[in-house]
């Protein structure tokens, strides 16, 4: 795996999110066990690990999406810029405007492309008039590398796009609210290789403005797009570090077994 050792310049060393002693329970099932992790600003962080290891669950803690699951219970501290997001004073709705999320399966709303992207700015009242909204829509679609493909049919249905375009539309929708962190839960698992390459390229570009956290099953993808990688196994954070180091010189034997394909 020597070829994976590419130059990885992590641009900042400021922590965006600090998680300390996070525990998640689904009913009686202890899904996340005492996880500590620091997520850096303007960095792509990948969560890898076998199915059911808790990486998606942990991701969903970061914007309190687990609140929508009735049986879920989260303990510990997660600080977003030194503010505890599980504090009673924090409104999860406002938090999610700051921590956007892209899902495994593209899920554009059954509305026009324009309305899909404008959804977030509209509900958060980010614009004062139509031209400002138009501007945000165009900027977000350009940022998601979709503008040139859809600029002539902004009012056509978002569900009529191809799978890869739909996923980029969902990314545009998520970045239209100008979040600080973008969470991606296996964003390429429902896409073909070409669409995957486009989305991966996009993720790399998004790094200049956002802190991106991506859950992936594909170790190649983690190696390609991320600067930091966290390996989860059975609800534990086994190892967390610079991506090149995780893939070439893992410290924990479990990490080594997983990336060399012996477990998972």
């Amino acid at each position: 795996m020597k070829d994976l050792r590419v130059e990885r310049d992590v641009q900042t060393e400021t922590n965006k999110i600090e998680a300390r002693g996070v525990q998640v329970f689904y009913g009686t099932n202890h899904a996340i066990k005492d996880v500590d992790v620091d997520i850096l600003d303007k960095t792509v962080t990948a969560f890898i690990g076998p199915s059911g290891c808790g990486k998606s669950t942990f991701l969903r803690c970061l914007n309190r999406m687990n609140d929508t699951v009735a049986s879920a219970r989260v303990e510990g501290k997660i600080l977003l810029e030194n503010e505890d997001i599980y504090d009673a004073r924090v409104d999860p709705v406002q938090l999610r405007a700051k921590v956007g999320m892209v899902f495994q399966k593209p899920n554009p709303f059954p509305k026009s492309i324009y309305d899909n992207v404008a959804y977030g700015p509209r509900i958060h009242g980010l614009t004062r008039n139509k031209s400002e909204l138009d501007e945000i829509v165009e900027k977000s679609l350009r940022r998601a590398a979709l503008w040139n493909e859809v600029k002539d049919r902004l009012h056509a249905g978002g569900t009529g796009l191809s799978g890869g375009q739909q996923q980029r539309l969902c990314i545009a929708r998520a970045i239209a609210t100008s979040p600080e962190v973008l969470l991606m839960d296996e964003p390429c698992s429902a896409l073909d290789p070409i669409a995957t390459a486009q989305v991966e390229e996009l993720i790399d570009e998004l790094r200049t403005d956002y802190s991106v956290v991506i859950v992936t099953h594909s170790m190649q993808q983690a190696a390609r797009v991320s600067q930091r990688t966290a390996f989860f196994h059975l609800g534990n954070l086994v190892e967390y570090g610079e991506t090149g180091q995780i893939f070439t010189n893992p410290k924990d034997p479990r990490t080594e077994s997983y990336i060399s394909g012996r477990i998972g």
């Binding site: 999610r96 999320m101 399966k105 059954p110 959804y119 977030g120």
Partner: protein, 486 residues
């Protein structure tokens, strides 16, 4: 042999066909299922179906044809004027059949012998009295023609019944032999059985269509008859409804149509928001425990007979509205009113709207909700902007179903809104609807030959066109505004 016995014989032969078909197929493959084209069960079913299907066809055919043939044989006994008129001929044939049945019963009870039944003549005494002794009441004294016709009818019937038994038995047997001969391990029994089942399924679906066509045709026929007796301009444009069975009626549609529309409007004003809001609460906000109690409780409403709702309107709601709202405000003093009927029909329709809306809201994929929450939308924003638009077609469908029911509702209107055909804007006045008038025009001993009764069919046709139009509009709206996911 009676029809029942024939069915038993067919069933026995089918069982034989099943057993033999299965065994022959197994035997030809020496018991090795892998050698056979189909599973053994299919060979059995093939044997049974080959007995049942053709023999039932033959039996049905015979049962339809036999009375027609016998009737033709007996024509000679009737005077020409009876034969000419189809109504008179039907009546005469009914008499013949009744007397023939009477003779059968008399023999069965031992009041006559077979020979006596053949020999009995009107000249020797009243046949009517003799039949009355065994419990067969006849409307008029039996004429010699009718009696001889009846006696011939019995003879033909006996011959016919024997022929029927023989034919059915032979067809069933032929089917059995055919199935047994054709069955071996290479015979494609599964395909044949599936073909028969598919034919059965498509036959069932045609029954519904044919019924609708039949209903429409009968409505159209009778409506046309009505319009030959009563000018259509008066029916559609006259503003008064005052039927008079002595003649000189005013049969204007307008007051009835107005009552129908007004009451349906009030009911949908009640049912649509309450039903929709309760569906949203149940689908999105209620905890599973609340839901498991409230949803069945709402659906109980749908099971209450409408006549009970009518009682509620008549005894409880009507007087309350009159005493607390209509009389104090001086809007009227009638216990039956558009408001009473409309409110009660609205309550009746709440479960239809809520149940259908609940289903479609639940059918909106969780991914839509996640997507919306993930951007930071609140629950109410998600419901308003994502879920309701996606669920719109189902919601509109539920409301139109409710509206159709309101338009077709009869009992609650009769008891809640009264029977006075009136054109009025005051919702506390008694009014009536098309359905109520259809019932009141057809109840009582009236012949279907005056405009006063035939108007019921024209009213029915109007109702049918109204609901059909409503459905077309609904389809159009749903297609146009649908936000389709996937």
């Amino acid at each position: 042999m009676s029809v029942f016995m024939l069915l038993v014989v067919i069933a026995v032969l089918a069982l034989v066909g099943f057993v033999i078909g299965r065994q022959r197929a197994l035997a030809s493959a020496a018991g090795n299922i892998k050698e056979m084209h189909s599973l053994p069960l299919y060979y059995g079913w093939h044997g049974a179906l080959m007995v049942i299907v053709p023999s039932l066809f033959a039996l049905t055919f015979w049962l339809v044809i036999q009375p027609l043939v016998i009737e033709r044989q007996l024509v000679g006994y009737f005077p020409p004027e009876v034969v000419e008129s189809s109504a008179a001929r039907t009546l005469a044939m009914a008499d013949v059949r009744r007397v023939a049945e009477g003779l059968d019963i008399a023999i069965a009870q031992g009041a006559m012998t077979e020979v006596q039944a053949d020999m009995v003549r009107t000249e020797f005494g009243s046949v009517r009295d003799r039949l009355a002794d065994v419990g067969v009441a006849l409307g008029a004294e039996v004429t010699p023609q009718i009696l001889t016709a009846a006696q011939d009818y019995r003879k033909y019937a006996v011959v016919g019944n024997i022929g029927r038994s023989i034919l059915t038995f032979l067809v069933a047997l032929a089917g059995l032999i055919y199935a047994i001969r054709i069955t071996n391990k290479d015979f494609r029994a599964r395909n044949r059985v599936e073909q028969v089942i598919m034919a059965l399924l498509s036959l069932s679906s045609t029954v519904a269509i044919l019924t609708t066509v039949g209903i429409v045709l009968s409505l159209v026929g009778e409506s046309l008859r009505f319009f030959t007796m009563y000018p259509w301009q008066d029916f559609f444009f006259s503003l008064t409804w005052s039927p008079n069975f002595q003649g000189g009626s005013d049969l204007g549609l307008a007051p009835l149509l107005w009552g129908t529309i007004y009451i349906s409007f009030v009911s949908i004003i009640v049912a649509a928001p309450i039903g929709l809001f309760s569906a949203i609460y149940l689908a999105e906000y209620a905890s599973p425990r609340v839901r498991s109690v409230v949803k069945p409780a709402i659906e109980v409403i749908a099971g209450i007979p409408t006549v009970v709702f009518g009682l509620f309107a008549l005894v409880t709601l009507g007087p309350i509205l009159r005493d607390w709202i209509a009389e104090p405000t001086g809007w009227g003093n009638s216990g039956s009113s558009v408001m009473t009927a409309g409110l009660v029909i609205g309550i009746l329709n709440i479960p239809f709207v809520s149940s259908l809306a609940d289903d479609v809201i639940n059918a909106v994929p969780q991914a839509m909700r996640d997507g919306s929450y993930g951007i930071g939308a609140t629950k109410s924003e998600t419901i308003r902007l994502v879920i309701l638009p996606a669920a719109l077609p189902g919601i509109v469908g539920g409301m139109l179903l409710a509206l159709s029911r309101a338009i077709g509702e009869t009992m609650i209107v009769t008891m809640g809104a009264g029977a006075a055909a009136k054109l009025d804007l005051n919702p506390f006045e008694a009014m009536t609807t098309i359905t109520v008038k259809i019932v009141s025009q057809l109840t009582g001993d009236t012949e279907f030959d005056s405009p006063e009764t035939l108007v019921a069919f024209a009213l029915g046709m109007t109702l049918f066109v109204l609901t059909l139009g409503l459905n077309v509009v609904a389809l159009y709206i749903v297609r146009k505004y649908r936000e389709q996911y996937e």
